[in-house]
């Protein structure tokens, strides 16, 4: 079983294209201003389709984290233990990402992280690193 990789849709394409070029992007509603938690086609607050893309600073704070010891599928067996974090980004959107080098710099709730990118099978995935 292969590792599940994102298959971009029309509304998420700018996000994944951004990742491929080393840029983290997020959306906000041009009508009501709501920052969207994850890329969407309609505003989660007012259902407008006027969603604008912006570039993120890539900085955020860990809302929660877990170290996975039991892989969900064989594709992740070679990676355990690995860390998954939920990150509240400074601009107000949220990201799930693996944390790189978590043994070197332990991650905690409230840790400041910088988002970078990691390429897997030709796809760039966001990856968090604890800020020194």
């Amino acid at each position: 079983m292969n590792r599940p990789l994102p298959r971009p849709t029309a509304e998420t394409k700018p996000f994944w294209e951004g990742c491929a070029s080393g840029v983290l992007r997020f959306q906000s509603c041009a009508l009501c201003g709501t920052v969207q938690r994850i890329p969407r086609s309609l505003c989660a607050a007012c259902q407008s389709d006027a969603l604008a893309w912006h570039q993120s600073s890539g900085l955020g704070r860990v809302l929660s984290h877990t170290t996975v010891h039991r892989a969900p599928t064989p594709a992740f067996r070679g990676e355990v233990p690995y860390v998954i974090a939920l990150i509240d980004m400074d601009e107000g959107f949220r990201l799930m990402a693996n944390v790189a080098d978590a043994t070197a710099a332990p991650v905690g709730i409230g840790s400041r992280v910088q988002i970078g990118f990691r390429e897997i099978d030709g796809v760039a995935l966001p990856q968090a690193k604890v800020c020194p």
Partner: protein, 382 residues
């Protein structure tokens, strides 16, 4: 709500070699209909949920064909662990509105012997968001672990206190002759069990079992034709805030707050009136946040309450008296139905060694996804 549970039945549960999803459905259905003192042709509505081992777009039609019944209403409901409660709420609406007289609500799956453990875990992982969660190796336990880590950080609750929840569930299961796991466990054993996703250990997680369960929901008038003691559905409510954990409004409060408020409001009762609670316990953390969001305990108090014995037989709130998903068994949608069936046993005074003295009011709750879809029910002895 002008709706009554008139029949309830659960099959054997645990490792049942040779069982099948539809076979367990049929066994549970026949048992519940017989318990109500009805015959299969009396059933004019059927609700099914979903299956891991025999998935189908039209599970209720597959079931009716399998059993050889031809109801006037048939549909399947898919809301993960909330399915059983949501189906009972839907059945209540069908009989109260006069569209049906007796609705059979049936669940079952051979999740243990019908698929590998890896298969079960992998199937569950597919509930993660395909683009924004699954590429990072999320699983259902890992999602709940994110909730648990945050909860422990905010409240100071310890792994020992969460483990006390698992220990009490095993104690309950020890009093149920059919429970999948009955041998007592200790806090130390929970903490020493294999780490799945920090801070959740193997024994913080529910079982994977074969089993089936069903209830019959009847209108007020039709309930008089039934043999079994009817249990009134006094209130029901739902709460929905998100599907994927990344989209949860926050990690502190969940839809169980709204669902229980609606159910209590319709029933005209409050937390303090409840004699016995049967609440979805896919993980120890699941039960802790539900007990607190619903209002049975203050924030951060559920684990301490479990250590004190509050959730035990004779405690302040006997909870999951059959042993719950943690120790009685978890067979897909039937997992949530076991809670409802146990509430019926309790309110009929037929729970044997685990009977809560004088139980008149029961609270039943289901949670689907990652604390995503919630349905609460209040049952009353009639």
């Amino acid at each position: 709500m002008n709706a009554f549970v008139t029949g309830a039945f659960d099959t054997e549960v645990g490792e049942l070699p040779g069982s099948s999803c539809m076979g367990l459905h049929a066994q549970a259905a026949i048992g519940a209909v017989a318990d109500a003192g009805l015959k299969l042709p009396d059933i004019d509505g059927v609700l099914c949920a979903y299956s891991f081992t025999e998935p189908h777009l039209m599970l209720a039609s597959v079931f009716c064909e399998y059993l050889g019944i031809h109801p006037g209403y048939s549909a399947a409901v898919q809301a993960g662990g909330a399915s059983a409660c949501i189906m009972i709420m839907q059945a209540a609406a069908l009989v109260a509105s006069g569209q049906c007289e007796h609705v059979l609500v049936v669940t079952g799956d051979n999740r243990l012997t019908g698929m590998s453990r890896d298969g079960a875990v992998a199937a569950l992982a597919e509930v993660g968001h395909p683009q924004f969660e699954r590429p990072f190796g999320i699983s259902v336990p890992a999602s709940y672990a994110l909730v648990a880590q945050h909860y422990m950080h905010e409240t100071g609750v310890t792994s020992e206190q969460l483990a006390a929840i698992a220990v009490e569930h095993r104690r309950h299961a020890g009093r149920h002759p059919k429970a999948h796991k009955r041998e007592p466990i200790t806090v130390e054993q929970v903490l020493a069990s294999k780490m799945i996703a920090t801070p959740l250990h193997m024994l913080d997680c529910c079982l994977i079992s074969d089993g089936g369960a069903a209830v019959v929901v009847s209108s007020r008038a039709a309930a008089r034709d039934c043999r079994g003691t009817p249990i009134e559905i006094l209130g029901a409510g739902q709460g929905h805030t998100h599907e994927h954990i990344i989209a949860a409004p926050n990690l502190d409060d969940f839809g169980c707050k709204a669902s229980s408020k609606a159910a209590f409001g319709r029933a005209g009762v409050a937390c303090a009136d409840i004699d016995v609670a049967e609440i979805y316990d896919s993980f120890t953390i699941t039960l802790a946040v539900e007990l607190e969001s619903i209002g049975f305990f203050e924030r951060g108090e559920a684990g301490i309450a479990a250590e004190r014995g509050d959730l035990g037989l004779g405690g302040r709130l006997p909870c999951n008296t059959h042993g719950g998903l943690l120790s009685y068994g978890h067979s897909g949608a039937a997992g949530g139905m076991f809670h409802a069936v146990e509430a019926v046993h309790q309110l009929r005074g037929r729970a044997g060694a685990r009977q809560v003295d004088g139980a008149r009011l029961a609270f039943v709750h289901g949670d689907g996804g990652i604390l995503s879809a919630h349905c609460s029910l209040v049952f009353g002895a009639h």
